[in-house]
Symmetry: C2
Subunit: 208 residues, 2 copies
């Protein structure tokens, strides 16, 4: 009588993994690492806690996979913003910067998500290397765009400029996400673009 066991469907392995990762990301965004418990993740994914262990050898594995997912997604988004080949080099750099400083990339929830992972990155060497790889992938894209500008052929110079511009982006992105009400809509994008233009010596015009 009492034996009503929960009904379930056998999803494909890929879909289940993605669903679990998505659930973990939601919880990380909402409540940080503390909220992303095995039970909460399973619940959010409409699944039983035990199943997590079926797909990931430990919770840590799931966390790492989730972090890699979110970082790669963000890098890909910025990349596509700067791909139109018909743009001149300066416009491509500015497009790359601009997309990072407005929604949906610059968003309180995303910053919260990233903040939730930050501590794990410092602690777990595996997470650290994921972080390093994705950070460098992002910065190298920026550096390639900068090197295409006139006068920036020297790789050492291009690297320094890329680090500086990346710093502007990261700093403003973080602050905008942590204190959204402290800035007017679109303000940080304007400020960021002006700063990057100044750093790169681009004219202060109003581009696309």
């Amino acid at each position: 009588m009492t034996g009503d066991r929960r009904k379930f469907r056998r999803e494909g392995e890929e879909r289940r993994r993605e669903a679990l990762i998505a659930a973990a990301l939601e919880l990380f965004a909402e409540g940080g690492a503390g909220a992303a418990t095995v039970r909460a993740i399973a619940d959010r994914a409409g699944v039983t806690p035990g199943l997590i262990r079926h797909y990931f050898t430990a919770k840590e594995d799931l966390v790492r996979a989730a972090y890699a997912t979110v970082m790669n997604r963000m890098t890909a988004e910025s990349e596509t913003a700067a791909t139109p080949a018909d743009l001149d080099p300066a416009s491509r750099v500015l497009a790359f910067v601009g997309v990072s400083l407005r929604p949906p990339v610059m968003d309180a929830e995303r910053v919260g998500l990233w903040a939730g992972f930050l501590h794990e990155v410092r602690r777990d060497p595996e997470m650290r290397s994921i972080h390093e790889a994705t950070y460098l992938a992002y910065r190298n894209q920026l550096q390639a765009l900068i090197a295409a500008l006139p006068g920036n052929a020297d790789p050492v110079r291009a690297r320094r400029l890329a680090i500086a511009c990346n710093g502007v982006i990261d700093g403003l992105w973080m602050e905008g996400g942590m204190l959204p009400e402290a800035f007017a809509a679109g303000e940080l994008e304007i400020i960021g673009l002006s700063a990057v233009r100044a750093i790169l010596g681009l004219p202060a015009g109003k581009p696309t």
Copy 2:
């Protein structure tokens, strides 16, 4: 016979509070929020867990006090770097920036400490207002220094420049702390100073 109760000394209230906060900060820096358990904090402070409840009505109170402490300390450090009145305005701005981008302010442990708090800031409104207050205190100092530069009398302009420079500082500070081995010693300070000079339109010389 078995009644060897632990010996203890009655410290002054101020000293105990500070000791507990210091212990909490150490643990936050080392292992993030997860490591700063009531028991671990008490242990580090050479005290029994119960005592924490005697000084703080809940653990959350201790965490808030610790965050306020560390943020105020960092702001104070940057402030004193820019106080020498014999410096010209430009040098004062650059001194303010420079001190934030080299040890002991830019330090992996400090960034880790800050990262450990980041998530709590997003969640707890009380922490949020502490964050906002300390962030604005820091940025307003920067803004005051910038407004003293020729041509920056307009508050709107000074505010924007302060936000931009603050973004550079925060971004580079964070990246330097997260991936120390990715940058040469002193590299980020040089890059940060160049970027700030470019943003503020200062000559590219090598100042004090």
